[in-house]
Symmetry: C2
């Protein structure tokens, strides 16, 4: 294996999302999966054999101490992201951290600082931005066919049959709640369109266990642009956004992951309702994410815009969370 061409990965924790990302690391052309760590030696070892990972570690710190590992993926609960990202950075590892990046923007900035200081890359685990469809949609936006951009509307939800009170998504101290879990995607999508922070936000939520089971939001941007979204664990699966300009509308019905992986589509409609359906290539977005992350490392060109996007997403989510608790408008200081 040509070490100059691959990044050697370790994974901290055996959460379910780690399975998908481990496969992506194994499939990526410039990555190899070297180790898995769990708080339980046995769990790590079982996982390693199931997913064909050479090394297993009974403590996260052990994995971080391994000089054969260049980068780590952190699928731990949000409340542990800062601690382990910073420890990984201090151990000289690049960090791909599952979203939400952190519990709040202070943590997020500490993580970014630690990575910057140690010369390692930090990125959150939002996959859809790495799908070729996303680039294609951005190109359409840049062609200016929508006219002046006015607003983004988005919705992401799924529905539990019964509320699983044990689920970490329903524990405030672990970083639960629909805003950080799903609203993170909506906020990122809105940022991806407008590429600037809102000036103020308003949100309302239904709380269970002090955690938002759902949330609806309005975001005000400079020049009168606006966005709104809803997210939640209590409505049928949705994952769409609509970008509206003066002359056209761009719709994507499944931006976080295509309903049909073979048909990553979106459509652009004009003011008469005439729509053009566009289809991108069908790369797996999790593999694209890993390859893009590794490319930056191998070419020694860390992409600051990725950290910046994570931090801005966190700023928006912090403000939305505060607004939802008070049910009042929250100003975002620039």
């Amino acid at each position: 294996m040509d070490k100059t061409r691959t990044v050697r990965w370790g994974i901290l924790g055996t959460a379910r999302i780690a399975e998908k990302v481990s496969v992506a690391i194994q499939q990526a052309s410039n990555a190899e999966l070297k180790g898995i760590a769990s708080r339980s030696t046995e769990k790590a070892s079982v996982w390693a054999s199931e997913f064909k990972v050479p090394a297993s570690y009974g403590h996260y710190q052990e994995l971080l101490a391994d000089p054969e590992i260049d980068a780590v993926y952190i699928p731990l609960p949000p409340s542990l992201h800062a601690e382990w990202t910073i420890k990984a950075a201090e151990a000289g590892k690049h960090v791909l951290c599952e979203k939400p990046l952190a519990m709040d923007v202070n943590e997020a900035k500490m993580m970014a600082d630690a990575c910057s200081k140690n010369g390692v890359q930090l990125m959150d685990g939002v996959m859809w931005v790495h799908h070729p469809r996303t680039k294609m949609m951005k190109e359409k936006l840049q062609e200016n066919i929508l006219g002046e951009l006015r607003r983004v509307t988005s919705a992401i939800s799924f529905c539990w049959d019964e509320i699983p009170l044990q689920n970490i998504r329903l524990h405030k101290n672990l970083g639960g709640g629909s805003l950080l879990d799903m609203g993170w995607y909506c906020a990122r999508a809105i940022l991806w369109v407008f590429d600037e922070l809102p000036v103020k936000v308003f949100a309302t939520a239904k709380f269970v266990n002090e955690v938002d089971l759902n949330l609806s939001a309005i975001l005000w941007f400079p020049d009168g642009k606006r966005a709104s979204f809803d997210c939640g664990f209590d409505s049928c699966m949705r994952k769409w956004f609509e970008i509206t300009g003066t002359k056209g509308v761009l719709n994507c019905n499944d931006f976080t992951r295509p309903w049909d992986l073979e048909n990553p589509e979106f459509q652009v409609c004009d003011t008469f309702g005439n729509c053009e359906k566009l289809k991108s290539s069908t790369h797996l977005q999790e593999v694209c994410m890993i390859e893009s992350f590794c490319d930056n490392i191998l070419n020694n060109k860390p992409d600051d815009s990725l950290v910046n996007d994570s931090i801005r997403t966190q700023i928006i989510c912090d403000a939305l969370g505060e607004s939802a608790e008070k049910e009042e408008i929250v100003i975002i200081k620039s």
Copy 2:
């Protein structure tokens, strides 16, 4: 002509929307168009000959005094709706009044009272609720395939190239603004789904000339149900709603008027993104509206639910307008 089988119509004013409705009256099986009134004798007479209407009147009151007229359609600016609806009711005429019904709910209730006292029917000019597609969508909702209803999202907009400051839609004293013009449809759609008033609302708007050029809103309903919409004169044409339940989503991309009149469609999707496209019959909704209105009269069964829907829509719009001015939540007292 069998007088027991037709309602004889007059129109108060020659606004552009009157052209479409006059054609609908002429096409409806149980209606005939007898007269047109304008403040100008000449304008009325020219209009009458162009649209083949037997009688023309140089004053609205003259038309109301004609015993050969059973019902009037009022396409005047909103600020004149109360005055002329009440005068028409006192003259014993049934009233189809263009939306928004009134400037505020006090006016709306005075209009409803005057019609009730004089034994005439009152209805607002929202056409889409009379389209056969609407009944078909309601049946789908009642089949309970969406599970428990959670939320409605809606958007209605069109875009002026330049803001026409002379347009009555931009004059506050005439009843202008995107909320009353287009938000009226969104509010009605939300009411049509939930069939109850929200408990509170929040709205924000961009004001020009003291009139809302656009507006974004969140509405809270009993049992945690929620709705949101945006409307405006400054974004590409849109006219959709999405109804979300725990198990499914119903989408209609053109509920106020099908993009393609020959294809009045909507779709129902499940939680896996499997969608069924449904198509209704293709009746012209303005003709359906007139025929339904006339049926009620001819069968001597005035439909109170129609007035009730208008008044509830007005209550919602009043609260949204107040909220948008203050940018604060407004409670709706039941």
